[in-house]
Symmetry: C2
Subunit: 359 residues, 2 copies
DNA sequence: CTCGATCTTGCATACGTATGCAAAGATTGC
DNA sequence: GCAATCTTTGCATACGTATGCAAGATCGAG
């Protein structure tokens, strides 16, 4: 641990501004506190003195007094899945618009997340956003007692102590099953994400239900753990089966592009002629023409908006009763899977598949 | 601005722990301050009381007293370029290992960055990492006066007030020129990043120098602004020229994959038979077999390591004289460009191009 | 046992800001 | 002009923690 002292000019304090402006420190504080009572004349004097001295209010001191740091902890175990950087950027933008700031915890894929939680709690954050990671019931309870709003992004929990923003994963899985059956596929594979992820579980459940409704009950399942290397390995296993599935549903697009690479470059398959691949979340590369993944969308903007809305509402009201927002997605049709004869609609030059039940 | 009050149980204070343990608040503080003097017996009493009461030290209060927040501001205007999420994850990991935390400012691509700077300075951050954005001389001076270390990541500046971590962009550009000439290319294009970016400038300078040394002086230059849409537009312009360049050097791989998509899917070109494409930074998708971009590497780990080392050194010593680290990259050869007959070396199953001068 | 050196402890204070409250000043209506 | 009411201001204090310093306790050597 370092023990050095930084030789530097101390920051200008509100007391120095007060002396310079010929008013009290209290007047300076009120000048910089939105909604506080200060006369226009005094305000002008304070602002002039502050500018001349290069004063910047100390957010740390203010946090201590107001019990409000205006810091939101965002926990993302990894950024490898290209969906999460987009989410992070959008969250950062929206939180900044509300004058909140992101304390980011990331890069602990292979480590226990308890130290992360300990650290963020020390900073007395105003709220917590958990993406791609979960919260134990003990820690959840602590947040509840402390009155700190928690929003699970793209996760759900049975514990019901945290709010959540998700998409209709189960319906998405079902819709994909229907789409593949309508395209004439007779055998199916599924590459899952993490076993303990609610999104993964729901997507598979929906897929099973959809296949079952079409008279299919067998799925070859392999685990991709939401990362590229494991997805590649899972793809190799599925594609090496004596009876290769005609279609593979990959639990997210980050893995789907890896599966497509393996299929084309290691097994020499043509997509979608030899094999159909469908994914979930419609992240960056899935949209690129080199992949063109047919995928259920997870609309980042509405999800980020809902997340920030919940947080702001709970912080403002002091009421942290869990709120759950479910954002609908759509099955966007590209080039990675064989098409059904019906059910494809086009809107703004983009093709979507609509379930028979909702057409 | 919100005005509500959060109804919640206040956090446990060190004074409450002290009372519970039958010692002074000072003893509690010393128990949680690394290196402070505290007897094993008293420490045990305090830790037991702290655990029983669920005490978590208040990092905000400690920051106020110690003038050290242990917060590092990381400024990344956008995360669209897939290089930066990887960088961010690695920085987060390394900073956490030093018990520092990332206050992230992102998502302001189209906005002035001054408000960002104002906000981060209010939090009395211990250091600043600027990636994909610059610092005005006025703000740079303010950091110097305040003794706050600033490290430019993947940027340089003539102002010399900030430290920097870069790669050999100029040499990389030169090496790519040599590689393309050796592969028999006779006409060249360049899709640039941002006009005001030092990395972009140096890559183009190096490319010009390398081509000139090989007897070529003409380059068709278009601007891609480091984003996909503008890179696509630039590619369309270059590929629509009466005399299409045989090779295009794209200023970063985020844009290079877009250029390849346009070439293949809009112009029906075969890579590298009809057109060679080379890039810079070797980011995620560039490595995927669907793209296989031949590219100069920007090794994230050593760069992140150097960045954090500089910061830790400067924070510990109080000495913020600018330090500049230049991390060498290599030209990694994949499938996006025609190969020269000589100069290719293989190491661990990966091919590299070595300049004649360094072979 | 004594003394000097070293460790431990609690008291008092500071950090920089926001805010409750009483007093003073300003404004409005009769 | 005066009373009522509203606005503004500065004083005193608090937030939760770390630390300088003096006093007390402990340890080791002579």
């Amino acid at each position: 641990m370092d023990g050095g002292i930084i030789t530097k000019k101390p920051s200008v304090t509100s007391s120095q501004v007060a002396e310079h402006a010929g008013v009290s420190q209290s007047a300076v504080s009120r000048t910089f506190t939105p909604g506080a009572s200060i006369s226009p004349k005094t305000r002008a004097k304070v602002l002039a003195a502050a500018k001349e001295l290069g004063y910047r209010p100390n957010a740390i001191a203010r946090s201590l007094i107001t019990s409000r740091s205006r810091i939101i902890a965002v926990v993302m175990a990894y950024l490898e899945n290209l969906f999460y950087p987009d989410v992070l950027e959008e969250l950062g933008r929206r939180l900044a618009a509300e004058n909140y700031h992101v304390l980011l915890f990331t890069g602990f894929m292979d480590r226990d997340s308890d130290p992360v939680f300990d650290q963020l709690m020390q900073y007395r954050v105003d709220g917590i956003i958990l993406a791609s990671t979960s919260l134990s019931s003990q820690l959840s309870e602590e947040c509840t007692v402390a009155g700190i709003p928690v929003v699970l992004f793209n996760r759900t929990t049975e514990k019901a102590a945290a709010s959540s923003v998700t998409t209709r994963n189960r319906e998405g899985g079902r819709l994909l099953a229907e789409f593949l059956i309508a395209g004439g596929h007779k055998s199916f594979g599924y590459i899952s994400g993490l076993e303990n992820s609610s999104t993964n579980r729901d997507r598979l459940i929906g897929f099973r239900e959809g296949l079952k409704a079409g008279g299919f009950s067998k799925i070859e399942v392999r685990t991709g753990n939401y990362n590229r290397a494991d997805a590649e390995a899972a793809a190799r296993e599925l594609l090496s089966l004596p009876k290769r599935p005609q279609a593979i549903f990959v639990a997210n697009d980050h893995m789907a592009v890896a599966v497509m690479d393996v299929a084309r470059y290691e097994f020499g398959l043509t997509i979608p002629k030899d094999l159909s691949i469908v994914g979930y979340d419609d992240v960056g590369p899935a949209r690129w023409p080199s992949y063109g993944i047919t995928s259920v969308t997870q609309p980042i903007m509405p999800m980020a908006e809902a997340t920030v809305d919940i947080l702001m509402d709970q912080i403002a009201s002091g009421e942290i009763e869990p709120q759950h927002r479910v954002i609908p997605g759509e099955l966007i049709v590209r080039t990675s899977a064989r098409l059904p004869k019906t059910g494809i609609v086009e809107r703004d030059g983009v093709k979507f598949y609509k379930s028979a039940a909702t057409r």
